[in-house]
Symmetry: C2
Subunit: 434 residues, 2 copies
């Protein structure tokens, strides 16, 4: 993975220039109403600590397809916006825990993934520059002494074994005020983090062991409908249709039939919208695990027939997960074409937007030369070039065209914040449930 | 005034490389303690809406010499940090008035000063991009209909007559939730702004009709002593000595004698510190009006004898003010050499740091080719080149030298925030007095 072409203005093209232009124009016209509405939403349901949202921009529609509440990839952001990250982190901490001064950062376990470690180093940097003492405590049980990792960027970071004392968790010589979780807890909340008295952001209940994508997208559906009413848009233009079919086992004939039926129904719904908007492309459905972030099991299909023809290996793959846990729930999501392309080779580009608190602090494009516009760009083993956003997402400019760069980035930031709001409602649900 | 050399990294030199290096090193070492202390200070005394602070960097000491609570010059900031301004404004408004959506901006009266109008347009932009409906209402009584101003930057702005309805102020067709004051109210609070029910930031009581520089620097003295204890520094290294001699009239023999005596005492105090630090330069004192921001009356003197020899014109000038109001109170401030220079001609450069809420959002250097290092760089009719800070002030980097750029900017940001804290204490005093 090359370093992002930072000095380079991303020269992205949108193949279809129809309705999206209208979406961008609506958002720009309604900017102050949108921001006032979002402010009122954050008052009711505060945003989680941070998030990254994968968007797909089809030209005629733009929608979030994945929301990660334990984001990595901070190293892919434009370093010019590091100050924005630092300031947003400061503002968030003053709100939620204003007397904190020592922060423990708990990362993912995969200590050999240099991309992840670079992101972790950037996150560490953000928290440190925000004025906190920050150290990294690992959940890996095989880590019994502090370990230093030297990174390709020239930075290094130290991970230390976690130590539990009563209802507090920390390091051997470090008792933090607050814990920042950057581990998606796919395998559940480990005992060492259970029932601790320190505040933890985000709360472990937002880990993948407790969270379902279908839950997120149910909330997103509500958010998109409310927002669409506010700005007078068809919600479908910002909302991916989806279905889930509960627990199933693809080794069963019944499980397979259920999946086929749901794929078929969803394709019919999408086709109806395509007909309404005169879109002459085949609809497709993305099948993925309903929990988990790593896209170990992602498949694009254009017909129920394709599901029927899945071989054993494909089915097994669809139901296997990072760490080997079996996937029993699948999400069927409307496939959104990615019609943003970059460079002379017209590589497919997918925007990923980062937020700290409810502030959009940057983003990057996953640029992929070997994938088609109907394929997922965050699949396992996938090679992509990160291309940092050149401009921020909070400086819309009404004096310019709706699809001028600052306005396109503003649109990304609005749609990403709608997904963030869905996550905020998940968080509120979890709080009420406690 | 040329546009700032934005793509240019300011190549500033500090003639003396002695103690300042130590100040910067201390601040860098103590960064997390400093930030924790500042956070606790903002909890006790929230920062005003915004401020700009003029710093003087003598190499051996660095100190604020003026704090402006109704700052202009926003147009001199690096446009790359506009997102930081927008985000800080959002964070502030959510804290102080989270249901507001319409903002009235009340500017200075001088509608012919294009530099000021460019700053006003930038401030308008910041508030608009933050997601507010913002309009500009003028205090000028001769403005009876909306007037459009076209600016050299290609932007234009509209100023409209203020309209009072009961205890609310607004425009003919605009009833704002909140008022942002960018007028220093040197001539007092006008009737149209008295006793209004809307929130006004900053409050009119922080206008120059109610505020004295000596009051500000008394608070700053306290802040500097507390801070110096925290980081174990001699407070003088960040604190300009000062004296004020109450009301006086320089046409009187008594008034002149009082001024001479105080200048002499202050020079003696400065000389004592210079001796302690082995500084072989003549101490000097800056005499300025104790209220007001425009530096109509600023004089540098190196001896009481110089005061004695002031001619009638100089004395008159020292006691005249913008708008013609007579100056009866003078502040005598330790002169701080400006030993930052820029470019091949070694032009004198003075940093000006901007804050929104307690966040440092940028700054610029006043670069002046025709002034000496012991002269004020913000004098009437003065010509300077603004040189925007290339980097932000919130990304200190301990892996680099204490005087590396991000660390120098961090130092500026810390000292500027100490002056902001002094202003926050003035604000608290005003609140208690109400």
């Amino acid at each position: 993975m090359a370093s992002p072409a930072l000095s380079h203005v991303p020269h992205l093209q949108t193949a279809l220039s129809g309705p999206l232009h209208e979406i961008e124009a609506r958002l720009l016209e309604e900017q102050s109403r949108i921001e006032a509405w979002l402010r009122s939403q954050w008052r009711q349901t505060p945003a989680p600590l941070y998030a990254s949202v994968d968007l797909r921009n089809a030209g005629f529609k733009i929608a979030p397809v994945d929301t990660n509440l334990f984001p990595a990839g901070f190293n892919n952001l434009n370093p010019a916006f590091l100050p924005l990250c630092v300031q947003a982190f400061q503002a968030k901490m003053e709100q939620v825990c204003d007397t904190a001064s020592q922060v423990l950062l708990i990362p993912e376990d995969h200590t050999r993934n240099l991309f992840y470690l670079e992101s972790l180093a950037t996150l560490h940097d953000i928290i440190e520059k925000a004025g906190y003492v920050v150290r990294i405590g690992s959940l890996r049980e095989d880590l019994t002494a502090p370990a230093t990792f030297d990174l390709p960027s020239g930075r290094s970071l130290v991970q230390e074994p976690l130590v539990r004392r009563g209802r507090r968790v920390g390091l051997a010589d470090f008792d933090p005020c607050v814990i920042v979780l950057n581990n998606d807890l796919i395998n559940g909340v480990p005992a060492i983090l259970e029932d601790i008295e320190q505040m933890m952001f985000p709360p472990p209940a937002l880990g993948w062991a407790h969270r379902l994508k279908s839950g997120h997208f149910s909330h997103y559906h509500e958010v998109a409908c409310e927002f669409a009413r506010l700005v007078d848009l068809d919600p479908w233009l910002i909302n991916p249709l989806f279905r889930n079919c509960g627990e199933l086992d693809l080794r069963d004939a019944e499980g397979k039939r259920c999946l086929e039926e749901n794929v078929d129904k969803l394709l019919t719904d999408i086709r109806r919208k395509y007909d309404e908007y005169g879109i002459n492309r085949p609809p497709f459905v993305v099948i993925k695990a309903d929990a988990g972030t790593y896209g170990m099991a992602i498949l694009s299909v254009r017909s129920a027939e394709e599901v029927r023809r899945l071989n054993r290996r494909q089915r097994t793959r669809l139901q296997s997960m990072k760490g080997g846990a079996p996937v029993t729930r699948l999400l069927l999501q409307e496939g959104v074409y990615s019609n943003e392309t970059w460079g002379p080779e017209a590589a497919v580009a997918e925007p990923v937007v980062y937020m700290i608190d409810h502030f959009v602090v940057g983003g990057f494009y996953r640029v992929h030369t070997e994938r088609g516009p109907d394929e997922n760009l965050n699949a396992p083993g996938m090679h992509f070039e990160p291309l940092a956003f050149h401009e921020s997402c909070n400086t819309p400019d009404r004096a310019r065209d709706p699809d001028a760069e600052p306005n396109r980035f503003y649109t990304y930031g609005v749609i990403a914040r709608l997904a963030l709001l869905a996550a905020a409602r998940e968080l509120a649900e979890h709080r009420e449930a406690r």
